[in-house]
Amino acid sequence: MAYADLRDFLAALDREGQLLTYSEPVAPEPDIGAAARATANITDRGPALLFGNINGYEPGKGRVAINVVGSWPNHALLLGLDKDTSVKDQFFEFAGRWDAFPGPIVRREDAPWKEVTLTEDIDLFQLLPLFRLNTYDVGCYIDKAVVISRDPDDPDDFGKQNVGIYRIQVKDKDRLGIQPLAAHDLGLHLQHAEERGENLPVAIALGNEPVITTVGGMPLAYDRSEYEMAAAIQGAPYPITTAPVTGLDVPYGSEVVIEGEIIAGEREIEGPFGEFTGHYSGAKRQPVIRIHQVSHRRNPIFEHLYLGMPWTEMDYTLALNTSVPLYRQLKTAFPEVTAVNAMYTQGLLGIISVKQRFGGFAKAVGMRAMTLPHGLAYCKVLIMVDDDVDPFNLAQVMWALSVHYHPLHDTVTVPNLSVLALDPSSDPAGITHKVILDATTPIAPEERGHYSQVVGNPERTADWENIVKGLLK
């Protein structure tokens, strides 16, 4: 199952009743951000929103799609699954496809975004209905585009070409601010460029089918190609096209491709921006992009992501592509791990289910999770549960925590570890204690508590689950 482009996915959502097209006039602010926030507030089965009549733009021209993967049904449809697929089943489907890496890519040069080319008098505000998302954002942002760059020290390495999502402040008609942290692949490319005294060419592809957007937010190893991972996840070759100015490989189906360069040595005030932690980021001096050329479809759709206090589209988008890499990396060391739910604030809090081999085993698995690449910046609170507890079922997790967890024996606090600086509790920013709450059942030689008389399912419960499901359909 592969979607050709954003429009193809929106059409699929529409067929499934998961797209809401709003044709009445709206103001860029505060309406569009408020509508996306409201949808996330009222349901976890909400639709994508498509606005086609935005003040200042001709009706049918400046269009905004938001909340596109902002619910579990939409995430299931992204994977080509039935929209009612459970989160746990979506997790195992995603994990299975992850193992198909690397998938094939296919090169096509007839990309639909080659319809129109702008080289002079570029003004992004004329082309796209940019808007302020949250009240105290410093301005208009692009937050769901994939940014493509190559390693200037190894420009021919396809795997080291990076496709990632970074927040981008639109500072002027043709000038952007970008946030490539040192730990990000783009940060490494920029470091190499600046060490060489060169600008770093970048392509910014907006409005894509949902798989490359998902993979762009995935913590992949440095030399792994996001396009080859997208092919694995969608189960079909991933089509890419050479961008005309920079020669970078960009998605075939994008709405808009912006090409330019990050200017070596320049840093300028950027932010604040409302972040996925539910707090604003504050202001930093960050790199700047000068735009040289824009290629686009006629009347492109501006796809945007709402983020802020969880849950938002950001959390649905990152839920499984955070959980699956942790699961796969953890399972390499400990095959006893049965599932990982790291979908709370990108894995600042995670739940790991594991079949204990002996007393203390689950605590060791938790320590390992903290030292995985993603764990270095996340995994501040880890809840360990037995293999028969579904970590995606919070009722079960809270049960395990309430009756298995003993505060004296089952709390492991590790002082002064690294965490992402955006965690507002970190002090100094980027440093925190981390904790494991072990809610597994104690086993030998750790014999304590009274766990021999579990109330199990009555006989034939599994049969009756199917009977009741059938009757409810």
Binding site: A27, G56, G62, K171, E195, I269, R285, P287
Partner: protein
Amino acid sequence: MNDTDVNTSICPRCDAENVRVLTTSPVPGGWTMYVCVTCVYSWRSTEPASATDPLTYPAEFKINPAEIPAIPAIPAVPPRRR
């Protein structure tokens, strides 16, 4: 609200009198975007007062222009290779 109703000479965020027109709406008369040259805050003429009014802009989001040069550069600019 019309353009004439909103402050267009002082930045709501840093109070600098260093504001210019960034762009105007594709459909004429829809709105005007302004940007502060000092702190790169931008706003639209049609936005609520929370985004446009220097007097009520919250203190925790205000910024002093004198402090901007000392804001940390992230990522830091690395030294040139020799």
